[in-house]
């Protein structure tokens, strides 16, 4: 962990306080949090590959805000995350924010730098314990396997809001590139075929409509992230894979209803995936002798998922949560039977149902404890997009239990 902290990425964030102290400014503020969890996985390798019980659930974040002048605010957050198989330290966001239209009924601003994705209700705070409903977000919409293409992008965004008599509209138009880490390549290609992966710039549009009374919202968002992957070729391996392109057309619809003692959330994701290349072959074998491998290339593989979540506030600081969600890798083959016929791979690797229940207890404004259980059928949410080895995720029914303590300031 220390060696991660020493990495030069962190220096970037130190620039903010540096400038501020140099200027003797008091327009500097900090926030942050630390959280530690423990989880138990009954089967499969969703979380930690070594053990069923894992303490690899540490997240630390520190953020700074600095008012550069009366118009421009600089804001950055560095995050250390040790989550199951993945340990990473990254700049979560680092941007300048300038709101240049300020009227009674509408505002428009611009952001430049590394910006959090605002698609869906929880992408912008998917790692923030105090701002998400559970320790593990609903995998039907927020798959951890694709988190690099959902978290924050390097680019520009225009945002605004407008008040109407019957509600208010918030909108974001963004253009940027998702920086990727090695774990995206593992998620797309699988561990055996890791390699280089890169992303291209994409557009994002997000609109949220909020009722005048404030008790319900609906949002619709769209983005089209795109990745290019080149697997490492090991000539001694039994199978190798060619380079390829993967494109997503991602739509997320969200709805929330707020009552005094409960709230209800529904989200739906529709993701049209185009995959080019990634052909399998046996190294050192003439073309004519190559065996026939399952086809990877597709013009349109529609992944889709939804969940409904109901939360009840026993007290203001004691929240119960029940959630049910479904995810399908291929909407035209929901039960995976066609996939099984074509490839011989388990049908349950193409869908995933998740029934979860949890409790969140806010001991104080700073301390929070979460406890939750997930009952899964199927492994689609944890399977790499392109992978033919399901031997590590070979149980159709499995459970995940988890507890987490967080401190934020």
């Amino acid at each position: 962990m220390l060696c991660y902290l020493m990495k030069n990425k962190w220096i970037l964030l130190c620039i903010l306080p540096g400038i501020a102290f140099a200027n003797q400014q008091k327009d500097l503020s900090f926030a942050g949090f630390a959280s530690q969890g423990i989880s138990y996985t009954s089967e499969n390798q969703f979380f930690d590959e070594e053990d069923n019980v894992s303490l690899n659930m540490t997240i630390l974040a520190l953020q700074a805000n600095y008012l550069f002048n009366d118009k421009i605010r600089l804001s950055g957050q560095a995050m250390y995350r040790n989550w199951g198989k993945i340990e990473s330290a990254r700049i979560d966001f680092l941007m300048a924010d300038y709101q240049f239209v300020n009227q009674q009924n509408f505002n428009i601003g611009i952001r430049l730098g590394r910006i959090k994705s605002d698609l869906g209700l929880f992408n912008s705070t998917r790692d923030i314990p105090s701002a998400r409903p559970s320790i593990f977000l609903p995998q039907s919409v927020y798959q951890d396997t694709l988190r690099d293409t959902t978290t924050s992008y390097d680019g520009i965004s225009l945002y605004g809001n407008q008040v109407f008599e019957f509600g208010r509209l918030n909108w974001t138009l963004a253009y940027g590139r998702y920086p990727v880490s090695d774990d995206l390549s593992e998620s797309i290609l699988g561990k055996e075929l890791s390699g280089d992966i890169d992303t291209e710039s994409n557009a994002q549009i997000n609109t949220t409509w909020e009722s005048a009374s404030g008790n319900w919202t609906v949002s619709l968002g769209y983005e089209n992230p795109q990745a290019y992957a080149e697997p490492l070729v090991d000539m001694n391996a039994p199978v190798a894979m060619e380079a390829g392109d993967i494109k997503f057309d991602r739509y997320i619809f969200s709805h929330q209803y707020f009552a005094e003692f409960w709230d209800f959330t529904f989200e739906f994701i529709y993701q049209d995936t185009e995959i080019k290349g990634f052909d399998l072959y046996v190294p050192n074998l003439p073309l004519v002798m190559q065996p026939e491998f399952p086809e990877v290339t597709t013009d349109s593989l529609v992944n889709s998922g939804f969940y409904g979540q109901w939360r009840y506030f026993l007290k203001e600081d004691l929240i119960l949560m029940v959630r049910y969600g479904r995810y399908f890798t291929d909407i035209d083959d929901k039960d995976g039977s066609k996939y099984y016929q074509d490839t011989g791979m388990p049908a349950f690797s193409r869908y995933s149902y998740d029934l979860s229940a949890g409790i969140k207890w806010k001991l104080s404004p700073k301390w929070q404890i979460n406890f939750e259980g997930h009952f899964f059928e199927g492994t689609a949410a944890i399977s790499p997009t392109i992978k033919f080895d399901h031997s590590q995720n070979n149980e159709k029914y499995w459970q995940l239990w988890s507890m987490q303590v967080s401190y934020s300031f």
Binding site: A61, L67, I128, N161, E165, S213
Partner: protein
């Protein structure tokens, strides 16, 4: 009490006066007052604009000056009244929205004053500041703005 000699109004006068005082004087003082620093060029403000400001959606005044946002602690009675009556939200909605705004970097979190007196003192010495109180105290440097509903 009610029997025999009929209703003795004299007997009930103190209670009646207390009731009238409560109804006409104390009751209106439960209303939330929106207060700004004297330099803010504003005499009235719409509910919706207060909401835009307190949801982190409007960061500058119409003349381009920075808005400095002040709030009372989340457990404070006045804060609850403000969130429920002025913003029209449940306190948990307000808290959750700010958790999201702060940790996504989309807005600067409001400064917290421990009570109404400290809030007024801070507003009086912070140009561009806005806050809310229940007890209207006239003091130098702060100005109360009239809340209105736009149609």
């Amino acid at each position: 009490m009610w029997g025999g000699k009929g209703l003795n109004l004299k007997y009930y006068t103190p209670q009646l006066i207390t009731f009238l005082i409560f109804f006409f004087i104390i009751q209106p003082s439960y209303a939330i007052e929106v207060v700004v620093h004297d330099s803010v060029e504003l005499s009235e403000i719409s509910h919706q604009q207060v909401k835009s400001i307190y949801l982190g959606q409007q960061t500058h005044w119409p003349n381009g000056n920075l808005i400095k946002l002040f709030k009372l602690p989340s457990t404070h009675k006045t804060h609850h009244l403000f969130v429920k009556n002025t913003l029209g939200l449940y306190p948990y909605q307000f808290n959750r929205r700010w958790q999201k705004l702060v940790f996504s970097g989309f807005a600067l979190k409001p400064s917290v004053a421990i009570d109404e007196q400290e809030l007024l003192d801070l507003i009086a010495k912070t140009p561009g500041a806005i806050g809310y109180v229940e007890n209207k105290i006239i003091m130098e440097g702060v100005r109360y703005v009239v809340l209105f509903d736009e149609k």
